[in-house]
């Protein structure tokens, strides 16, 4: 019987409390009288949050193990304070069958650092033409409820409509990568004054916004849930805000990098800033922060996209799109949202744990910090300050846009069902935790 006592942590940023964990479950909260034999974690000054849940992670396995594996990706997740990640479907082969999603799910369990909830492809091969076997993926051991062709847009309106309708049978959700393909042929960066000057093909905001507008209307029309991946423009915010005001069934995510970085960085032509959707303008960043604060945007999702060095060590046009996110997400959110007064820690917990778990229909993750709940927890030291040093990352890749940038905060402990995956800031040995009944207990 394992026993852990956390002393002095501020639960969701509130008053310091003691938290007793026994056999992976929170058994006492407040002042703990008797904790004989417990491992004690002194956590004065730290913030206690529910384990973070990422709706948007690229683990790259199977197929691109040179950039990330399920094991390295989930170790990175644990270092970032995550206890569950949704693994995107654009692997090789594509996660468009029960077999592939079960493989990914099983690799996650074997690694033991973080629950891995596979996302299924909406269409076969992400080609946007024929629906993948969504039902089979849902019925598999992986229990897929989130479907996405992420990396590509489901641009055919009929296919999108059918997908939305079809997943109603098992309360699924379609996570749309909103990118009108014709408007973004050859696109390299946000279309605006910087792209005009740099001579890089523009990626207009309207390419994202027009698809979002269509899809919220489609979702409302067929009465199904649509989730908007990595929303990046002020116009997208307005459309989602309007849709929500009409009661339309839409949720939306924003990445940490879109909360902080702008297209001005592209002036360096350093492909570490090349990402899909592209970095936008200062005005967009402001709108996204406000929307995250007021709930128009539901969650922060990392879009953790590892790439090997050779895919970034080149000229801009030849480089791959994407940035690492898992190991810096909470730091960026503290910097952009908490330290600016836009969000308190309870709000962070809502947007990085509770809400993403609800959208993904995870039952064992994103739970309140309360007696009887699974002990998926993260301890955060908000006063830590250090420049980002990619050499220390657990990810197999190094394509972080924050290299050398000073960001606040640090994960000191991550607990997955009571077991430390990160302790005193360092990954523990493979915890070999096999959940008896999986993440969706």
């Amino acid at each position: 019987m394992s026993k852990t006592l956390i002393r002095g942590a501020r639960v969701l940023g509130g008053a310091p409390q003691e938290v007793l964990i026994e056999n992976g479950v929170v058994t006492a909260l407040g002042t703990v009288a008797e904790a004989g034999g417990a491992t004690v974690i002194e956590a004065a000054g730290r913030i206690l949050l529910p384990g973070l849940v990422d709706l948007h992670t690229h683990l790259r396995e199977p197929g691109r193990e040179d950039s990330e594996t399920v094991r390295t990706g989930t170790r990175a997740a644990a270092r970032g304070g995550y206890t569950a990640v949704h693994a995107m479907a654009n692997t090789f082969p594509v996660a468009d069958t029960a077999g592939v999603v079960e493989q990914v799910w099983r690799l996650g369990r074997e690694a033991g650092y973080c629950d891995v909830q596979p996302v299924g492809a909406v269409t076969v091969g992400l080609e946007g033409k024929q629906l993948a076997e969504l039902g089979a993926m849902h019925d598999s051991a992986a229990g897929v409820t989130v479907f996405s062709d992420d990396g590509k847009c489901v641009d055919d309106a009929v296919i999108m409509r059918r997908a939305l309708e079809y997943v109603k049978a098992f309360d699924g959700v379609i996570a749309q990568h909103a990118q009108e393909p014709r408007l973004t042929e050859g696109a390299q960066m946000n279309e605006g004054t910087v792209s005009a000057e740099l001579g890089l093909a523009g990626w207009p905001a309207v390419a994202e916004e027009s698809v979002i507008a269509r899809d919220v209307l489609l979702a409302a029309h067929v009465g199904s849930r649509v989730h908007i991946c990595h929303l990046s423009t002020a116009g997208s915010v307005e459309i989602v805000r309007w849709a929500k005001s009409r009661g339309m069934p839409v949720t939306a995510e924003v990445t940490p990098h879109h909360l902080l970085l702008t297209d001005e960085l592209v002036r360096s032509y350093d492909p570490v800033y090349k990402v899909n959707p592209p970095l936008r303008t200062e005005a967009d960043v402001r709108a996204l922060r406000e929307a995250l604060a007021d709930g128009t945007i539901d969650v922060v999702a990392t879009d953790h996209a590892p790439h090997p060095q050779e895919d970034k060590d080149c000229e801009w046009a030849a480089a791959a799109m994407g940035m690492l996110g898992l190991e810096t997400a909470l730091s960026v959110v503290q910097h952009a949202m908490v330290d600016t007064g836009l969000l308190d820690w309870a709000g962070v917990a809502e947007r990085m744990s509770f809400r993403p778990a609800r959208i993904g229909r995870l039952t064992g993750q994103g739970r309140p910090v309360a007696v009887g709940e699974p002990a998926n927890l993260v301890l955060w030291d908000p006063d830590h300050r250090a420049p980002v040093e990619p050499a220390g990352f657990a990810s197999r890749s190094r394509n972080t846009p924050y290299r050398g940038r000073e960001l606040p905060g640090r994960v000191t402990h991550t607990l997955l069902r009571g077991r430390a995956t990160v302790a005193d800031g360092a990954l523990t040995d493979a915890p070999a935790d096999t959940p008896a009944d999986g993440a969706r207990a």
Partner: protein
């Protein structure tokens, strides 16, 4: 002047005038029996062309050879340009061969900037055209040509283009020539107007230091020079304009339109020309057209750039001492 020449926007007014004045002196070399100077003897200049452009390459090559540099031509076209690693590897190969300067032409915007700032090589980098970004020596030779025509070879020395009205017409969106010229000509004090169909302007051009017009006829009478950009017929596929004929009718320069220009105004074209598209044969062959002079100017301007970047002491990386910023005329104060 900096260590590299990546963008016309990097040049100050004094840098640009110094280059033009130097080019003007070097242009006189062509009247001499020996059209060669020993200045860059022992220095190695590499032309690294990822895109075909024989005109630009031989212009740089002639410039480097007239300064006695050793020239290595490296045509990288077709050798897996699409993968960036090849740029890095190629660059390091050239470095290992002792290149003092790399003149790079690349289809990807920013490739020369990347080469100069990535730490892959120490050589000076000269941008010979990157994607739809910049082509600074083209802008310099255009400025040289227009200054010569409007102010005279000697009359122009030490002077910029203040108050001169220069119109650039055509496919602005895909044109590195237009971007470079807007930067350089405005730095030199000229009033630049861009003309073309709205589809061929980049979103975001509103902030450029120039006027934007969709009406060529309205701008012609107020132009001291009109630069016609090459319009690629392939652009029709992107629905940028309906037909060649309609483009030529609205934005092409023919004899009748040329007659509406002031008597002193010149017609410029960076070449190669699409006769019948953006320019008619009548205009192209008229004495007002400077296309051939521009080619000649190219060698002088590129000699000036090579001399000013490579002829003196190499400034330490990261620093940007000018070629001596002492104004237009030399004032040597040295013990002899």
């Amino acid at each position: 002047m900096k260590r590299h020449l990546i963008s016309a926007a990097d040049l100050t007014r004094d840098d640009a005038v110094l280059i033009l004045d130097t080019a003007e002196e070097l242009a006189r070399l062509s009247d001499r029996p020996i059209k060669k100077l020993p200045t860059l003897r022992g220095r190695t200049v590499v032309t690294l062309f990822f895109e075909d452009s024989t005109r630009t390459r031989i212009s740089f090559e002639a410039a480097a050879k007239r300064l006695s540099a050793d020239v290595i031509n490296f045509s990288a076209k077709g050798s897996s340009v699409s993968k960036g690693e090849s740029l890095k590897d190629t660059a390091q190969t050239l470095e290992a061969m002792g290149a003092d300067a790399v003149i790079i032409r690349h289809g990807a915007s920013g490739a020369p900037y990347r080469l100069a700032t990535s730490g892959w090589i120490d050589a000076a980098v000269i941008n010979a055209g990157d994607g739809t970004h910049q082509h600074p020596t083209q802008a310099l030779l255009d400025a040289f040509t227009v200054r010569r025509r409007l102010l005279g070879p000697d009359g122009g020395l030490g002077r910029d283009l203040s108050g001169r009205r220069i119109t650039i017409t055509g496919d602005i969106l895909h044109s590195r020539v237009a971007r470079s010229n807007v930067d350089l000509l405005s730095t030199l004090g000229a009033e630049v107007t861009l003309v073309g169909p709205p589809t061929l302007f980049p979103v975001g051009a509103e902030g450029w230091p120039c006027e934007i017009s969709y009406d060529l006829d309205a701008v012609l009478p107020k132009s001291d020079a009109v630069m016609m950009l090459r319009v690629q017929r392939e652009r029709m596929g992107g629905a940028f304009f309906p037909t060649e004929r309609e483009y030529a009718r609205r934005y092409g320069l023919d004899g009748a339109r040329m007659a509406r220009m002031p008597a002193h105004a010149v017609v410029m074209h960076p070449g190669p020309m699409n006769r019948g598209m953006e320019i008619t044969a009548e205009v192209a062959d008229s004495p007002r057209c400077t296309a051939v002079e521009q080619v000649t100017a190219g060698v002088s301007v590129r000699m000036a750039v090579l001399y000013l970047l490579l002829g003196g002491a190499q400034p330490p990386a990261g620093q940007t001492p000018a070629a001596e910023p002492r104004g237009a005329r030399p004032r040597t104060e040295e013990n002899h």
